[in-house]
């Protein structure tokens, strides 16, 4: 318990101190890190706890960005962000019923396809509306965005920790092990999967809205970029997703890596990403968190 909380607390303290450096470069990096942590923690609520691996979380991120872009100027910023999370959650509930009927590789492909489908629907919609990208004037400054991202990362981390210890979390782990057996002990399997799917969508929706404010424009190809989905999964694999520490480590590792490489050797970045993914899947399936826990062995 103490051990598993030490790292989140350390990250939290670092995040609280960061703004006092006054360096907009560091705060910018911190913003990206907090967004990643919030995304990966949310993803684990569905994909690590139930075994339904989503390769389509970009859809929630993109929808959140779209909601904030559409409501920009019409609604106060906090309301727009809450709406972004709400729309992502409701969308998950609506598509969850059919989508969560399939398992394994079918679910992975289905979520990926769904995200692409929504992306192109938004592109068509936007061209019908005669707008190819939406500029957002008067976005809040970086300090404010950082504070919101930090809060989201904290909420997502605390949420992931609490859910794991709750009855909901035990039910989810049971259905990951064996859905049929979970049903026979009285786990409301369909309902829990849907709840997990919706919970894992809300914060990514808000993060998407926040990211749109950071770039001050919305463009569907970028907001629904499948790289968002890939990055989330890669961070979870490299960090480990057996507990709440993994996403922190995975997100931090990739944020630092991209700062180091992206600036100097951008063409090498994707190569390194691919190599790391292969190495971790093959040799360190429990991820960085597994190494820290002293159990780098294969996941049973």
């Amino acid at each position: 318990m103490i051990r598993s909380l030490a790292l989140p607390i350390l990250f939290g303290l670092a995040g609280l101190v960061l703004p006092f450096t006054g360096s907009s470069y560091l705060i910018g990096v911190g913003f990206a890190l907090c967004c990643s942590i919030a995304l990966v923690q949310s993803w684990t609520v569905l994909s690590a706890m139930t075994g339904y691996v989503s390769l389509g979380h970009a859809v929630f991120y993109g929808l959140g960005a779209y909601v904030v872009a559409l409501s920009w100027g019409a609604l106060p910023m906090p309301v727009g962000l809450l709406l972004a999370g709400g729309v992502a959650g409701v969308f998950a509930l609506l598509v969850g019923m059919p989508v969560l009927r399939v398992r394994g590789p079918y679910f992975v492909i289905l979520t990926f396809g769904l995200a692409e489908l929504v992306k192109y629907l938004v592109i068509i919609l936007e061209s019908e509306l005669g707008s190819f990208s939406r500029l957002m004037f008067g976005a809040p400054d970086l300090g404010v965005l950082y504070a919101i991202a930090f809060a989201l990362a904290a909420i997502a981390t605390a949420g992931a920790l609490l859910i794991r210890r709750s009855r909901l979390g035990r039910g989810l782990l049971a259905l990951r092990e064996n859905e049929e057996a979970a049903e026979t002990v009285g786990v409301p399997v369909v309902r829990l999967k849907l709840v997990a799917f919706a919970l894992s969508a809300v914060i990514p929706g808000v993060v998407g809205g926040l990211a749109a404010m950071r770039t001050t424009y919305f463009e569907p190809m970028q907001a629904f970029d499948p790289t968002v989905s890939f990055t989330i999964v890669t961070m979870a694999v490299v960090g480990g997703s057996d507990d709440a520490r993994g996403p922190l480590l995975g997100a931090a590792f990739f944020t630092i890596l991209s700062e180091v490489l992206w600036a100097r050797l951008p063409q090498v970045y994707m190569v390194v990403l691919g190599l790391l993914l292969i190495l971790f899947v093959l040799f360190i399936p429990r991820g960085l968190a597994g190494i820290f826990a002293g159990r780098p062995g294969k996941a049973a």
Partner: protein, 238 residues
């Protein structure tokens, strides 16, 4: 049998387009052991899964304790005290024995007294207590079957469904399982057991139904079924 605990009336069920049960009717008396016997593919497991709500009934109705449960999802039936120990045991393999038992008590009706009941189950199955921290998937088939039954009992059932509990077990272990069935009955539970070991099953059963091609073709007290010409010929090889 108006005082039956469970009644199936003309139940149809199956998988997708494939109908296994067309119009099956049977009833289970409270506090007794009722057996479903029949060969492979006769539909015994489909009956069990339909009763537990793992698959829905396409026609007919199911009554449990006087309530119509036909449309109830599986977890609601568990909450009503109707618990399935599925075929092939289906323990949670990477979880420990203790964690498996704790999950057995996840249903609302079971939460209050989970700890006491776990201790009772450890008394019933001392081997599970010895192995409480062992991963369930690494145990022998017989031990996993005991765990599956123990996990089912954690839900505090009034009626427990045992689907092929001795499948793939050594004869000694199968004998132990039948001893457990007697013990459950002595504790006042209603038991419905689907088995291929017809001789031993009819020896413990108060009542039996012979299932063939998705229908009950013969019913009667366990002892008289065991003496029945057709049963002796078809299932006992006599």
């Amino acid at each position: 049998m108006t005082d039956a605990l469970l009644t199936l009336e003309n139940v149809a069920a199956g998988y997708g387009q494939v109908r296994i049960l067309r119009a099956l009717s049977l009833s289970v008396a409270p506090g007794a052991v009722t057996a479903l016997i029949g060969g492979n593919g006769a539909g015994k497991t489909t009956v069990m899964r339909t009763i537990a709500g793992a698959i829905g009934a396409q026609a007919g109705r199911l009554l449990f304790g006087g309530q119509d449960i036909t449309a109830w999802p599986a977890h609601r039936r568990v909450d009503a005290g109707l618990v399935l120990v599925p075929e092939g045991r289906l323990v949670f393999p990477t979880m420990t024995v203790e964690e498996n038992l704790r999950l057995g008590a996840i249903a609302r009706r079971a939460r209050g007294s989970a700890r006491t009941r776990r201790d009772e189950i450890y008394d019933m199955f001392p081997r599970l207590r010895e192995r409480r921290d062992q991963r369930a998937g690494t145990m022998s088939g017989g031990e996993q079957q005991m765990l599956a039954i123990g996990r089912g009992l954690m839900a505090d059932p009034t009626m427990i469904l045992l689907d092929e509990p001795t499948l793939g077990l050594a004869p000694v272990m199968a004998n132990e399982i039948f001893a457990i069935v007697r013990d459950l009955r002595a504790r006042g539970l209603t038991v419905l057991i689907a088995e291929q070991d017809v001789r031993q099953t009819l020896a413990v059963a108060d009542h039996g139904h012979v299932v063939e091609n998705g229908d009950v073709v013969l019913s009667g007290p366990g002892t008289s079924l065991a003496a029945d010409e057709r049963v002796r010929e078809a299932y006992l090889g006599l």
